[in-house]
Symmetry: C2
Subunit: 468 residues, 2 copies
């Protein structure tokens, strides 16, 4: 581990000289929220100082100073992460980009939006919608910043048809650990000009550079959207239908799966009722396009596949209100599960989508075998599952022991099925050992060497992703 | 420059022990084609030995040996590159993957194809078409290998709607310079598990690893395709229409532009006649989708935009034969221009698509100013232009001098318009100085450090991309 400097009074004065005293917070002025992300279970790490940056130039000066003094710097957006990526595990400066929240330009000729990193996903989505444009990535957590989304390569619901965040990043400006400013990509639609450091930065969780501006690709807003809610008598039949849908060459925008118990929890959490909860398991599908006839034809084709595969019914939802009711429940699953247990741990493995039924069945067996409550839901159409292991009233010792075994078995199974540790949440510090185990030493040594090339002093978001 | 070993008789024997003598070629057994790619203008570099590998295991053994002995290794597919990327500029081993040409699996449940790198683009396209699937990337050179396509992040015609090669690479197996084998990604649709070395490898032109297997994403084959050939009285009106088309929220699959003189050259080269050559400039557009009505509606909408913008006519081509006639001419442009001049140089800059009219006008001025013949055509819809500067009957001295000035001015202008050196052909060794100039020292030093992390001895495809 590198030899870091503790912050001195002179350091604080230097930071105040860069940003002004009102955006440099210390001691009791630091909100306890800054000690963790959405998983305080992974530990609480108070920063020595929080700096709320307002520009790339400020961040460049901060990094130059931190680099001279070997002070660790942890960049942070909204802090909605789930693996400790934005938590200052080695102290130092917590650098918030939340104030860099201006949308700079929507370019309708190049179909791009240029934005600062602190803009929230929901704000970005709304701003482009007003121009009849769509930013397709649609992670569940709408109050995440767009910078955080890019730095974790966030996925979301619409990945089945539209892909993930990576597919929409055209250009970025980053500040490197030594304070140098670098422009990568731009508004261009193609690029074969040297190593794509842009694509290396995407998903690097703020360990290689701090993103200060983004240019993102947009698509014309589809004119018609239909959702189908499809109840099945059991989970096997429900998830087993997904490969048939894909094979039929239909192109749904999203295919989510959910179980009754999670729906009931969301109803309780939201105080709103869900259109149906009479069945054990549900698929929720959306279709979009510009031709109502074509969207309806696709939805009907998939409805027939579901009914032939044993679905109890197909509930069509083509008004905004009905869709809102269903999708708001879907959006509350994580919070609903969280509020049902004093403590939990999560895992967001991804497997090839034709293996997801096998994986979900395995999770059910694990629940029985270890006598521990496990809830899961997720993106059946793209193979990405969110699995929540709940402590409930287990003793601390029993919880630790069971959790450890369950997590190991989950990751082992994902790897056996040619899956990966994280579909969309990232590695942070909490999942470093699982990444190392699943990808192996050759990969792990290489990413450490890449980290070394960008950050020879190891001051930028240390302890994350590659553990350095 | 690193200190390389020349090959000895013992080295040749070692290579023969790995691959058998019939796949290790030396001296007169080496075809002169192996001394260069499709641009012999950038120099001819005879390899010391050509090895035709047949498996990842062989390549791993070769790299382990080359690494011990510090022998340069240059990987090569079909050799259809245009910037010297697959040319052994520092001698050593030319490692051909052309024999690794099996398509291993088409997976209809995950919509992926798994293939060896030596499969030709046209073979891959045909094999998936037979299953009613589409591999969307569509570069002009159909006899390139898929490995070469991935290693240059090839673009092609359909990038307007479907993106580029990068967007379709789900997984790869690579052999690293030290002979280690690495699996990256897989069949999974989402991945946030550590730095995306896969995306760093894409477009790295065989300088960081040798790709030995690829898993590529496919999409259901659209049922309906329409092409429009739209003649305009002049080039300005022609290209100026493109941003209006994009702004209208139509989603063409491709928007190409071409001028009469290039069409006439292609007619002569092919001995086939083009549907129309009465006008100065043309847009060629395609639209695809599953609903004939919706595809026709989009085509009509765009036809009206073109006519309102001054188009002379709109020629609809909705039969396979007519589309074939138009697109085969488009496919022959490069060869037609090549055969019209004893020597030429090319540049494939990319600019934001709303700047392409400005850039094309600039090219015309350059032609007049330097009294040199310049032909261009390209991907108007994605801002990627192919520009060919022709020597014709200029003296060697006049050609060198004019070419040097024209190239500098072209790249300077592209950078001024926020463009990049290469939209799809790559950097190879020929464009290293232009990459360095346009991206700057911070970028260039970083990519050299990344190269160093992967290949500390500098033996894999030395002299390319980052010049090391």
């Amino acid at each position: 581990m590198p030899d870091y400097q503790q912050l001195s009074a002179a350091d604080l004065a230097a930071l105040e000289a860069i940003c002004g005293p009102e955006r440099v917070l210390t001691g009791p002025a630091i909100n306890e929220d800054y000690h963790h992300d959405e998983m305080p279970e992974y530990g609480k790490f108070p920063p020595e100082v929080v700096v709320e940056a307002q520009s790339a130039a400020e961040i460049a000066r901060i990094m130059r100073y931190a680099s001279e003094r070997r002070i660790p710097v942890t960049p942070r957006g909204s802090g909605t992460g789930l693996c400790g990526g934005a938590v200052p595990v080695r102290g130092g400066i917590l650098l918030s980009t939340a104030r860099m929240n201006r949308i700079l330009e929507i370019d309708e000729e190049n179909l791009t939006v240029t934005t600062e990193p602190g803009v929230l996903l929901m704000e970005l989505a709304k701003a482009v919608l007003e121009r009849d444009l769509l930013y397709p990535p649609d992670p569940g957590e709408k109050s995440a910043t767009i910078g955080g989304n890019v730095m974790t390569n966030a996925g979301g619901m619409r990945a089945v048809k539209y892909g993930v965040t990576r597919d929409y990043v055209r250009g970025m400006e980053v500040v490197l650990p030594n304070g140098d400013l670098l422009e990568l990509g731009g508004k261009i639609a193609k690029n074969s000009s040297g190593y794509s450091l842009k694509d290396l930065l995407i998903g690097s969780e703020g360990t290689l550079g701090i993103v200060t501006r983004l240019t993102l690709r947009l698509v014309p807003l589809p004119k018609k959207v239909i959702s189908l809610l499809v109840p099945f008598p059991d989970l096997d039949g429900c998830i087993g239908t997904v490969p048939q849908i894909i094979k039929s060459k239909a192109v749904p925008t999203a295919i989510e799966f959910m179980e009754r118990e999670v729906i009931v929890a969301a109803e309780e959490y939201l105080g709103k009722s869900f259109p149906d909860k009479s069945s054990d398991a549900y698929l929720l599908l959306t279709f979009d396009g510009n031709s109502a006839a074509e969207v309806e034809r696709q939805a009907e084709q998939v409805a027939e596949i579901c009914l032939a595969a044993g679905a109890v019914d197909v509930l069509i939802s083509d008004t905004e209100e009905r869709q809102e009711a269903i999708w708001s429940a879907r959006g509350a699953f994580l919070e609903a599960i969280k509020s049902s247990t004093p403590e939990m741990d999560e895992c967001d493995v991804v497997v090839p989508r034709n293996r997801i039924a096998v994986f979900v069945k395995f999770v059910k067996e694990l629940e029985r075998k270890h006598a521990i409550r496990i809830r899961s839901f997720g993106h059946a159409g793209d193979g990405n599952l969110h699995i929540y292991v709940c402590k409930d009233d287990l003793s601390e010792a029993a919880w630790r022991e069971k959790l450890d075994r369950v997590m190991r078995e989950l990751y082992d199974k994902a790897i056996e099925l040619d899956g990966k540790v994280s579909g969309e949440h990232g590695i942070g510090h909490a999942k470093v050992p699982f990444l190392r185990q699943s990808e192996g030493e050759t990969y792990f040594n290489l990413i450490q060497a890449v980290k070394q090339a960008f950050d020879p002093q190891g001051i930028l978001n240390p302890g994350k992703v590659c553990g350095r």
